[in-house]
Symmetry: D2
Subunit: 395 residues, 4 copies
């Protein structure tokens, strides 16, 4: 570990994402050789007692309920935004203005204009050496990173099909409570922005190609749900309570897409696919090969090489656990898989390295704004009889 | 075997489907107890030499090159149509007019008007005790039949998602030759009508619900291919030859769909998904369970029951090889799987039983006409900026 | 089909194996181009009524209850023995003496001396141009045949491990009835001879290496079972009945083995592995590759090639359904799998070709006698404190 | 986090296991609510420079090269032994004598007498409130813990079969170097003690039954390997170097086993199964159900319940990622899997809780001694013609 000054982090948010990011900041400098040490300086939440408890439990030096002062403290280098989407813009703009590097959870914002203002601020800050990154963490799941690598090497030839699904089931039960994720004000959209955003980002990144137009349908299968007194987090199943409130976001989104490389995309995001706990899947078919991933088997990648000898062809189940694979040299021997939170560790690792090197990092706020435009086009198409709707700004 | 007179079959077509149907007629009465014996009376092809050879090889009593006279022979009871789609109407109408029971390969026709005339003729013939059936054979793959049974029992609750893919890869190579299946005149459409029709039929049948509107994209990735002197059948890979001709059908079709039960459908049919040899897949998610099938593992069905005890839930891999499963009591002990052609055997079994009982059978020509209307709506939507397009005749 | 005289078959046995073999004789000449036509001449059973019914149902020209005269009829060319093991020797010797080609179900006999006499008779008959074959049908499951091919090509290098399991569960229930398969007199042994014999044969054939010694344990978990009045076939589950009789064979056999190529073998055969309906599995690990098969996914083969690029290595799931694969050119397009009974069709195909060519065929009676010696060594080892026991006749 | 004094840990060993344990001590108190805080006080290695570097990288407060003084320091509460097996006894005895709680990596020792002395010391120390645990970490992989739970609930009925394999491939290449793990002096045995010990422990724990006798074979396929100057850790592939030294341990072990509940066991441990990177598998078949696990898909458990409705039976793929599952409530939402090192976190969690509660913990040194006796019986059997050899001390 070098003798340089450590990078001090302020994290806003204490729920699911806060726990995952805390684990990342804790582990990254201990499992990877980083150019800068990391210090978990301050965690910010709304409730003083809970935030204190979170700080103690998760190992932050301080707790605060005032995000703005935390963000502006001179001893802070990195601001890590883990709040619902409606607060991203305000916090990120303040952090960038204060000269902090920013890691912002996805989706970047709840609307395209918000995202564009954030991206503009990030571009401006970049001129001052500030790094901003959006947390599409699945890019740094090793098997997805390997997928990108294989496509980038040209192994798949011309890309023809992109097939991406993100299937969950946590609100299949009509009695699942009305959390903030089901509230359009807080969350922007439902399955679309929460998990659809992930597969849009993965698909574009893996194929190095942008979605240019979409034809979409949205569905809300359960339109009213039990209200909770204080609904934070992913919520439980079958919460009781007499009062019901309206679900104002989509339960599911489905769309076909055109890519600027000519590929045909099919996307589906839903929280209502019973039995599919977290089936974040992407498959790409090209003219010389195919590749497929399912997060439910996150340490595996299926790879088909049409150049294999006839009669010996088949999808190879690569266990993405080898030192040759992205991020894996820092971990365990081959065959000893990683888990969900490791992608956040890798995110932290790459961010620290980018900050130290003064280099840009992806997904940038511009990348994330493009995802936001796809989300907007999906909503526009769904509202316009599924008409094929161009993604704003695409050629 | 009863002492009644046997049912005598005339089969038109000698290629891939002809071979599969021959195997069905040969095996059905020997593995199942049928109320009527079956005789493979006459096979009809275009080329006399080849048809003679086919008759000998496949075990037909006679060979003929004159379909019309074969169809009108008084000693024929069943006409089995295994030709490309452009000839279905003429043959079927002649057969029905001659009082023959008809089994017609899918898709029923190349256009909706053709299909409607065939369906009208079949309805009229039904009044005379004539049975007509369209060969959506996958319905009678035991795992698909079990899927239908489980849904019909109400195990899945309200249906929310239908996810159907039919992925093949036999023309991924741009040098794959220009067979009749790539010629709109002969085939009507490409992946859409050939394999998309199968998953449309399965999805509607399994869910007992009809597609009411679609939003679609079609793609032809390889627009010219080598011409063969005499291209019949599925063709080989990388056939040589200097001359090239235009591909006039789609290589791939993708569409989202609305069902009359409120479900959201996502469909994809392609012949360009490298490594997916015959991935005919369907998954249905309901409010109390899910079920999934992939023909590449045709003897398995994945079934998720949300009523299973928490912590013990998961997709069950049912080996659909038990005496309790559809059609299986006639075959082997549990765990001894069936193959592709067995669905055709079951088709023959059910057809013979329906004829003997004087009862209608499904998929009827009406069922198949409805599929044809979905195909037409897909093409219309794709030609109209993917606009959500109602399926003709749906409520 | 050639103009030569057909080969006429007499089949002894009407139960499960009789049905499978009937299907084979029926289908082989129609799906494959054979040098000789096949005629299903006569089926022989014990009960006249049932045998008549079986003949009609399965399509045999005649029924008989006198195996000896059927075997000696001058118009019979092939005798197909599908009876329990205690009658194999007598029938086979009579058939060979009468100059008939013989297909005998496995295990070849119930004891080594019986097998040796049969093998001696077969060797003698071979000098008169007579062909004898033992029905280890799994060799002709395409994926197993491909496995053998890949090993024979040297792709796996030096063989180190052979891991073979045959797991069934049809008598897990203590109330499953006492069929002939649980009677040592009829069946010779239990899981060992019935299904253990299959994996011994496959392992030796695939690796082209013989088992030289074994160290074994046998188990009978359920020692008494309900007696049926007339127990033939695989029996049902939970048959009722007050009387109970002793199970005189093993429910399960497990042994380690040495091979003459230095490999270490681990074998397990059981009828008590709940949920494993017919998991006939074999895996071979060599110094440069591995290969694995599970009959429950009979159209797949897992192949690992250590020469694949580092970071891109993994077991390939080969769908053994391509024209390049053994026996597949005669069947359907890639991705359209076969079923259990197809191995019997391939057995018939190869036997007819061998007879026509006047060439020997495998598994020969000698091959099957060697399997019998392994079975005997397993029983001897189990009776002698699991001591490593040489297989008689091995170097 | 409570205000009690923290538990201070001294860890001996800096290699693979040292890294895994460091991650465990770091993460356990942050992701779980523990009754005592944990401090990573001192790490002990042989080389001063490397140990300093390890302390910095892995986050230990101090580095030392003197294990004895580290173990005896009054400020140390827990001694964590991550060295090769030949040093376990000396360190553990010193630590227990000094009144420290001990976590010792597996196998507990290189010989039964060593293990017995350690177990005796642990029993004696237990009377003083000292806790000792052996690091069979796979017990705390959630899917294995769930497996144990399901069996303990009686869901499987009478246990009949235990089928356990631990397949690796890291020394398949004859050029893989001669690490300490291939040296009998250091490692005690090869695949047998390293990975065979794991499946022996899992099998006995999951079934709550002890192995009473074994019949075994051992193999060393590659008898000489390149010598490295300083071979620590798992080693790389194909290390160069002219000099070669003898491999003094087994590459593979295979044995059948009897359990005190009557079950038949089949075990195999190898480092030569190409393509199997870390296939730590166990399957248990009982009279009413079955259960199977493969570490290569460590977040899944296959469960078959014979009480499921006929025709709806099948192995359920349980994603062991739900709050209902062992250890999972502390982690992520359902479907977000864990990785290899999480089992070590759980080990640390349970150890801290046991220390705080003053309660014994498993696997105890007695449990581990029993595993050691099985290992000894395997070696004795292999040296005695595979004769079925009783496990010392078993009834």
């Amino acid at each position: 570990m070098p003798s340089t000054t450590p990078l001090r982090v302020a994290m806003i948010g204490t729920a699911f994402m806060g726990r995952a990011h805390s684990q990342a900041w804790r582990v990254a400098p201990r499992m990877f050789e980083l150019p800068r040490e990391v210090e978990m300086a301050v965690i910010v939440g709304r409730d003083p007692g809970r935030t204190d408890a979170a700080a103690r439990q998760m190992g932050w030096q301080e707790a605060s309920t005032d995000w703005r002062s935390a963000v502006e403290r001179p001893d802070i280098d990195i601001v890590d935004i883990c709040t619902p989407g409606d607060s991203h813009e305000e916090i990120a703009l303040a952090a960038l203005a204060a000269g902090k590097h920013v890691l912002c959870e996805k989706p970047l914002a709840n609307t395209v204009p918000e995202a564009e203002r954030m991206a503009a601020a990030a571009r401006e800050a970049a001129r001052r050496g500030i790094v901003a990154m959006c947390g599409f963490s699945y890019r740094r799941t090793p098997a997805v990173a390997l997928m990108q690598q294989i496509v980038a090497e040209g192994r798949l030839g011309d890309i023809r099909h992109v097939r991406a699904q993100y299937l969950q089931d946590w609100i299949s039960d009509p009695e699942a409570p009305l959390t903030w994720r089901l509230d359009k004000e807080k969350a922007g959209s439902g399955a679309l922005g929460d998990i659809g955003a992930h597969i849009i980002d993965s698909a574009q990144w893996v194929t190095d190609s942008l979605i240019t137009a979409v034809s979409a349908q949205l569905r809300t299968f359960v339109t009213e749900r039990p209200v909770l007194g204080d609904s934070v987090g992913l919520g439980g199943r079958g919460a009781a309570g007499g009062e019901r409130g309206p679900v104002t976001v989509d339960d599911a989104a489905a769309f076909t897409a055109t890519f600027d490389n000519g590929a045909l995309g099919v996307f589906e995001a839903t929280r209502m696919a019973l039995g599919r706990r977290n089936a974040n899947r992407i498959e790409v078919n090209g003219s010389t090969g195919s590749i497929a991933f399912d997060f439910e088997r996150m340490n595996e990648l299926e790879y088909y090489d049409a150049a294999d000898e006839p009669g010996r062809q088949g999808f190879r189940r690569i266990q993405v656990t080898e030192p040759e694979h992205p991020y894996l040299a820092a971990w365990w021997p081959a065959g000893h898989g990683l888990g969900y939170e490791h992608a956040f560790v890798h995110e932290a690792v790459d961010l620290v390295r980018a900050i130290d090197a003064g280099e840009p990092i992806h997904p940038s706020f511009d990348d994330a704004t493009q995802v936001q435009r796809v989300l907007a086009a999906v909503e526009a198409s769904a509202a316009d009889e599924s008409r094929l709707t161009p993604v704003e700004g695409s050629k």
